[in-house]
């Protein structure tokens, strides 16, 4: 359970202040597949960063699993992210000099020392994202969609409770994006991992089982969609 309680976030740069979030409250159930939509600058990334323990709120509370994020220091937050959170970035952020396999296994080896376990789990997750036979390729030898699959594998390999994805499909074409969404939803269902992603893309929103709309730092819409309509949307756009 993620609980965001009346959170504001103010960025100060010099004398100017930008209120990126103005009193946002949100409860997210475990296993959700939640999209945050909204125009550019509405605060989507800011909200994901707060939930992802990458940043702290100016006021209000972010509580994950009953624990206040603001009570933890930098080291504890890093440890928490390592064990419980997965990240998928818009621009993939793979390490170009490592193979797909190494990009994934390094995230797991932050937690697990046992080399055989690391290898088995890495190969299993690469198979899940459909890249088992490309494990030895470097990011430069993969398409954008394939690179993002590696990133998805990297986020999921340690079996996190929550995966945060900031515009995961923005850098790939819509067909590829749809494939990625299918994959993420499948993984969401299979592992009951909570997925939170931000997007501009209507197609992405259609996949979500809950759609939160942000505008100017405030939540202006919160829509839960029945499972049938999602399948219909997926079928319709596919």
């Amino acid at each position: 359970m993620i609980s965001v309680d009346n959170v504001t976030k103010v960025y100060r740069s010099g004398s100017t202040e930008v209120a990126a979030l103005r009193g946002v409250s949100l409860q997210v159930e475990d296993g959700s597949f939640l999209a945050i939509a909204g125009p550019s600058g509405s605060g989507k990334t800011t909200l994901l960063n707060l939930i992802g323990c990458l940043d702290t709120a100016s006021s209000g509370e972010v509580i994950i699993g009953g624990v206040r994020v603001s009570d933890s220091n930098r080291k504890q937050l890093a440890l928490f992210r390592r064990h419980h959170l997965g990240f998928i970035f818009q621009s993939f952020n793979l390490i170009p000099v490592l193979t797909a396999y190494e990009n994934v296994s390094f995230a797991l080896s932050l937690l697990i020392r046992d080399r055989t376990r690391v290898r088995d789990r890495t190969m299993a997750i690469l198979a899940d994202v459909g890249l088992a036979d490309m494990a030895d390729r470097r990011p430069g030898e993969l398409s954008g969609g394939q690179q993002q699959r590696v990133a998805i594998a990297r986020a999921l390999v340690k079996g996190p409770d929550i995966v945060l994805a900031d515009e995961p499909t923005a850098n790939v074409d819509s067909e590829t994006g749809e494939g990625l969404l299918e994959l993420m939803r499948e993984l969401n269902r299979r592992h009951s991992t909570t997925f939170l992603f931000s997007t501009h893309d209507g197609m992405v929103m259609d996949y979500a089982d809950r759609l939160v709309t942000l505008q100017d730092g405030r939540i202006t819409g919160d829509e839960t969609r029945p499972a049938e309509s999602q399948s219909a949307a997926a079928a319709g756009s596919g």
Binding site: Q76, A78, H83, H84, F89, I95, V97, S109, L110, I112
Partner: protein, 448 residues
């Protein structure tokens, strides 16, 4: 939400304690990542490595060269100017800078015998100053009366004579001059010159001497302003019975071979022992080691070696700037990647380690390459030497070296330059890494 326990936020989870202690990534992985990172910009890596290699090679070579010059210079000082030491009167010992005839060692023959009996090569000399006249020209000159029979046991004047020269003979008023002096005055073999000086008792005296030999020695200080004449001629003309000094040659070491250029503790001990033994029989005489006879030279060498150290430091500084620049760029272009790694929970120490390892690998490759090249160049310098006679012409710059000299091995420099190359490179990487890690994770991720 059982897995999101409060324990996870407030302390390291017990179940994965081992991994947490690892600081986010095992050393082998970090090392491999650092190694791979070198391939991101091959050219930059190669240029930085080569720059370091060149610096290390130049450092090793220069050090060998300077060490070689020092060694050679010291040897030439002893072989042509001072001997390994001298026996003089106590009064002369008080004022070593002012050689004076009044500080006369009268009983020099038994003294010399006593030294020979101890296995120490030695030769008597008389040192004085005068004015040399030839034609219209004249110049002040230091004159040394030498014993043609024994001088070669200590000094190497005879080896330095130019072709057609002859050596001095007892009783014949001949003169040997350095070639720079004869060039200055336009003198040639067979010319007669006049030397004006004062005798032991202060009376004016004029010596008429025939130029029998011209020498060109590896020690530039005796190539100009110094003349040699037979000891007995000098003694007669200066109204002396004795000499001003007995020069000492190689000192017996107990190791089978006498030591030609004794230094340090060994020299001090030998001189002390000599003084203790001579003291009883010759209360007037005192032995002194060559470093005390060459204090000006040693002071000069000290200044030179500190300016040489400065030069070597500058060479390393250039390499350091190169590495620093490379690591700065490498860190800067990877800030977003750092953000990703930190978001994934890798800790700062591990990220810093990748940069430090990367610089360390450049440091190791560069210094090893530099070591190989530098050692090869040093090997050549030690075994074949180089000729610097064209470099300074007939000007003395303080070093007692002209012509050819050889390098010296200095294992300390070889080891230090590699260790320093690696450690300094690693230290240099710390700065930009630390600066990048001062940004928070979000700033890193937003970095373009």
């Amino acid at each position: 939400m059982a897995s999101l326990s409060s324990r996870a936020l407030t302390s390291a989870p017990a179940a994965s304690g081992a991994a947490s202690r690892g600081g986010g990534g095992n050393g082998k992985f970090l090392l491999r990542l650092a190694w791979r990172n070198l391939s991101r910009h091959r050219r930059r890596t190669v240029i930085t490595t080569v720059a370091l290699a060149v610096s290390v090679a130049v450092l090793i070579f220069m050090d060998s060269m300077l060490g070689g010059i020092d060694q050679e210079s010291q040897r030439n000082l002893v072989w042509y100017e001072t001997g390994s030491g001298r026996v003089v009167t106590h009064a002369q010992l008080e004022d070593l800078d002012q050689v004076a005839l009044k500080h006369e060692l009268v009983d020099y023959l038994p003294l010399s015998e006593a030294l020979s009996a101890r296995g120490i090569a030695n030769t008597p000399r008389v040192g004085f100053v005068g004015e040399l006249f030839f034609g219209e020209g004249s110049l002040p000159i230091r004159l040394i009366g030498i014993d043609p029979d024994t001088d070669e046991d200590v000094y190497r004047l005879r080896d330095s004579l130019l072709p057609d020269s002859s050596y001095l003979e007892a009783g014949i008023p001949g003169l040997i001059l350095g070639s720079w002096t004869t060039d200055d005055l336009g003198l040639s073999l067979g010319d007669f010159v006049e030397v004006r000086t004062r005798t032991r008792h202060g009376a004016m005296q004029v010596l008429e001497l025939e130029l029998v030999g011209i020498l060109l020695s590896p020690n530039p200080t005796i190539n100009r302003g110094v003349g040699y004449l037979p000891l007995d001629v000098a003694q007669y003309d200066l109204e002396m019975e004795g000499v001003t000094e007995i020069s000492l040659g190689a000192l017996p070491s107990g190791l089978g071979r006498p030591i030609a250029v004794p230094t340090g503790a060994f020299l001090n001990r030998e001189i002390e022992r000599l003084n203790a033994e001579l003291g009883a029989r010759f209360p007037n005489a005192a032995a002194v080691g060559w470093p005390q006879l060459a204090r000006d030279y040693l002071a000069l060498m000290e200044t030179k070696s500190s300016s040489n150290a400065m030069l070597l430091f500058l060479i390393l500084l250039i390499a350091a700037v190169g590495i620093s620049n490379t690591m700065l760029i490498a860190v800067y272009e990877r800030i977003r990647e750092f953000g990703m790694m930190r978001a994934l929970g890798m800790d700062d120490a591990a990220i810093r380690a990748t940069m430090v390892f990367e610089a360390g690998i450049i440091g190791l490759l560069g210094s090893m390459a530099g070591l190989v090249v530098g050692a090869a160049a040093t090997f050549w310098l030690v075994n074949w030497g180089i000729d610097v006679s064209g470099l300074y012409g007939d000007v003395s710059i303080g070093y007692r070296v002209t012509g050819e000299f050889r390098g010296a091995w200095n294992p300390g420099t070889l080891a230090t330059s590699v260790v320093f190359g690696v450690l300094a490179s690693m230290a240099i990487a710390l700065l930009p890494a630390r600066r990048a890690l001062r940004l928070d994770v979000v700033q890193c991720l937003r970095h373009e």
